[in-house]
Each structure stands twice: as structure tokens, then as C-alpha cells.
Amino acid sequence: MFEIAAIVIVLGAVLVLYRAIKGPRVYDRALAVNVMGTKTVVLLALMGFIYERPHFLDIALVYALITFIATIAFLKYRETGGLD
């Protein structure tokens, strides 16, 4: 069950990979990186259950708290042309 979910997530990650490389606009890439962060969190939780280490779930939660930093910095740069 968890394996099937993990395979579906990885297949989705392949689609995200295509969008991140192909672009064409920089916003597509920013969105792709953001989705990749979300997929990382879910894949981490699934890996925790597949390899019987359920405490990975806590780590996945902390990941979810820090993966948005890059997107915030990117949007700030696009809005004001700097990080000030």
C-alpha cells in the first residue's frame, strides 16, 4: 500500500522535474520547486512507514516548516528586486 503511494509520488516528481527543467518562465520553475518540497515531505513520511521508522513523521513535519523559505525569498526578489 505504502509502496504504491510512494511510486505514484515519484512518478509525479518526474512530471515536476520536466516542468522545472523545461520552464519556460521562471514562475514555472518556482512552482515546480515548491511542489518538489511538498513531495519531499510526503515521500519522507511514506519512507518512514515503508522502512518501519514511524518517527520520520516528526522530521517530515519539520521539513514542511522550512521548505517554503526559498519560495518566499524568490517571490520577495521578484516583487521588489531585492531582499530588503
Binding site: 527543467i21 521562471v26 518538489m36 519531499t40 519512507m47 522550512i66 526578489y77
Partner: protein
């Protein structure tokens, strides 16, 4: 299976990041690369390294690179060198450097054959002081977690030095990146 998929993603992201002309896109792809790298660390049970990779590699490094971009230009420019690369001597030099890189890489891969297997209990790293830390650290230091005992007690001065280095680096970054209102 999942290891191969993660390594495949890593290679694709790495090639994409160095071949991108738009530097902002390259920074974003580098951030995704760090996220996948964190998953690889996690797969090797190196949870603390994975945290550092996600926080520093995907978070802080991206912010620093974007800050650098905001002070410079966003696009990589075609340097006049690209016209010279057709000449014979430059091509020969490029071929020579390619051969050097391939030979060095092959030697490094060859040296990994002698390394102990992943998680091998008889590996030299597991036979030296690890057993003493596991058995004696509570008696000697009174700290329950023996990783904390090694970091904060056995290697206390080492950790103090590391903290000083990181604090100095942090102060330097803050001084470089702070808002320049006075000017």
C-alpha cells in the same frame, strides 16, 4: 529502487542547474537539488545531516544566492571566450582537462572498493572509541544521550571553537547583507 530514482533526480537536477542561462532559475533548481539530497541523507539514516542539508542547502543558501543576484545581474552573459573556443589550442586544453577529471574520478571510485560495507559492525569507525562512548558515557558525564555527551562533554572545547567560528561567520553575513540606508 527508490535510491536509484533519487540519484537519477540528482543527476538531472545537477545538469539542469549548470546548463541554465537564467541564474534565478538555476538557483531555484539548486534548491530542489538540495531537497532531493536531503532525502538521500535520510535514506542513509543520517537524520542530522539531512536537516542541515534542508535548512542550509535548500533554505539559507538559496536566500544568500538570491541576495547576491539582487546586487548583480540576473542573466549569464555570453563571454567573448565562446568565439575563441573553436580554435585548436583551446580545444586541446579542454580535452586535456576532461581526461584529467575522468582519470581522477576513476581513481576515487576505485579507492571506494576497499571501504567497508555500509553499516558494517566491523568497520574501523565502529571499533575505535564508539563502544566506550556507548558503555561509559553516562557514568563519566551524566548525560543520558551519548551523542550529546560526545559533542558537549568529551569534545566540549572543540564544540566551543565551532560555535565561535559559526557566530563570527553569522556576524560577517549580517554586516554584509544589512540594509544600507546611510549611503
Amino acid at each position: 529502487m527508490i535510491d536509484f530514482m533519487l540519484l537519477f533526480f540528482l543527476v538531472i537536477f545537477a545538469i539542469a542547474a549548470i546548463s541554465m542561462k537564467d541564474l534565478l532559475s538555476a538557483v531555484m533548481i539548486f534548491s530542489a537539488y538540495s531537497l532531493i539530497m536531503a532525502l538521500v541523507w535520510m535514506r542513509m539514516n543520517a537524520v542530522d545531516v539531512a536537516f542541515t542539508e534542508a535548512a542550509v542547502g535548500a533554505g539559507i543558501t538559496t536566500v544568500l544566492l538570491i541576495a547576491a543576484l539582487s546586487r548583480t545581474k540576473r542573466r549569464e552573459e555570453n563571454s567573448p571566450q565562446s568565439e575563441i573556443t573553436n580554435s585548436k589550442s583551446i580545444q586541446r586544453r579542454l580535452l586535456l582537462s576532461l581526461i584529467t577529471v575522468i582519470v581522477t574520478g576513476a581513481m576515487l571510485v576505485y579507492s571506494t572498493i576497499d571501504m567497508p560495507d555500509f553499516g558494517d559492525p566491523d568497520a574501523p569507525a565502529n571499533l575505535h572509541v564508539a563502544a566506550r562512548y556507548i558503555e561509559k558515557s553516562y557514568e563519566e558525564t551524566g548525560v543520558v544521550n551519548f551523542v550529546t555527551a560526545v559533542l558537549a562533554s568529551y569534545r566540549g572545547y572543540d564544540t566551543l571553537g565551532e560555535v565561535v567560528v559559526i557566530f563570527t561567520a553569522g556576524v560577517g553575513v549580517v554586516l554584509l547583507l544589512r540594509r544600507r540606508k546611510e549611503q
